[in-house]
Symmetry: C2
Subunit: 217 residues, 2 copies
């Protein structure tokens, strides 16, 4: 697959296949809004990169990253280092007549910047946004957060100032001389869906499945 | 979600929630074998990390990474720099009685090392493995690769020497005092599946859907 290419002075300028680059801000937002997890890259003091899956939610023109205050990731983010957060949706297999032209349909965002840890009211507001993104409608049902839980939870805000968006969609791009070959070609869509809810056996009897859970499905 | 934590001298030692660490090599293999894309982290000369989605396939105790020879990623890998390749499957939403205990079920592998670019017979063999992984059974149907296509394609091999595997599965881990609350709790599985194949309209008439494509579904 053709990935968003890292750049030089302009870190997120798409160098390869610029026709797959998308500048529409609404596309950027939609890709992030469809994500539960971003892959966040940080670098340690020896120059070793680490890429970690992190729960995420978009808040306007920022990406919120959520985890444990005790984690190495969030203790590292607290140093104000440059990070890269990437979200990718793989939407299908593109079956061309050759391996070379075979590809994947995907939508990907790469965001570069410094992710600032949030505190106080900013943090509580961000936690609400994350809960509403990951579990829409559920917040009112949940037992309220305790102060020690808030302390143990970290939220960082990465501004969406330096982003690249790359999208590949549609059928194979075989060269004309391959189109007459008797090889099945097309796209096999890949879909993500929820399965049947699995109730926790320790629930008291008679707790109904909430409506919002049916809505997610 | 609790991510594999970056380490210090031992880069992939799980520092947080070690009970989610898995040392079974077959689990590592299965997570990679279920992946089409790894998120690969590299660092530029200014210390900026980039995280790129890259097509991948496991070959024994290595992870093969596939892309364009012209891409910044593969030109950067050619320098022999340290990389991190992370694969994550999100398997479900864990709905606890509190936002704090709510989580995701997931399986994740983080592999650190130097990814060497392959050439010649090693590269051709690796390309076959990648095609067989991403499109099992299809290779015999495909128009053979041309020399200029092989040249334009890059494959790198990352040894799976320094890896961490982290898995969260099962229901919520609410503290005992929350179990009596009348809040629906459990797991909402997340599934990935193929949709109906979409034929390329430029196919000659009468090309049947291949059996292997039905097998994937």
């Amino acid at each position: 697959m053709d990935a968003p290419a890292p750049g030089g002075t302009d870190g997120t300028k798409i160098k390869r296949l610029p026709e797959r680059s998308v500048s529409d801000r609404s596309v950027l937002h939609a890709i992030l809004d469809g994500a539960r997890v971003a892959h966040v890259g940080i670098v340690d003091e020896q120059g070793q990169p680490f890429v970690l899956p992190v729960a995420c939610a978009r808040d306007g023109e920022s990406l919120l990253l959520h985890g444990s205050s005790a984690s190495r990731l969030f203790r590292t983010l607290a140093r104000g280092i440059p990070v890269c957060a990437t979200v990718t949706h793989v939407d299908g297999l593109v079956l061309a007549r050759s391996a070379f032209e075979s590809s994947m349909n995907y939508r990907s965002v790469m965001a570069l910047g410094v992710a600032a840890l949030l505190e106080g009211q900013d943090k509580r507001h961000a936690l609400d946004i994350i809960t509403e993104h990951l579990l829409p409608g559920r917040q009112a049902d949940l037992r309220p957060m305790r102060p020690q839980e808030e302390k143990a939870t970290a939220v960082a805000r990465l501004p969406l100032d330096e982003c690249s968006v790359k999208v590949r969609q549609g059928g194979p791009d075989d060269p004309p001389e391959d189109l007459g070959l008797a090889i099945w070609a097309g796209v096999l869509p890949i879909q993500t869906s929820f399965g049947q809810p699995i109730p926790d056996p320790s629930m008291p009897p008679g707790v109904p499945i909430p409506d919002y859970l049916n809505d997610w499905q």
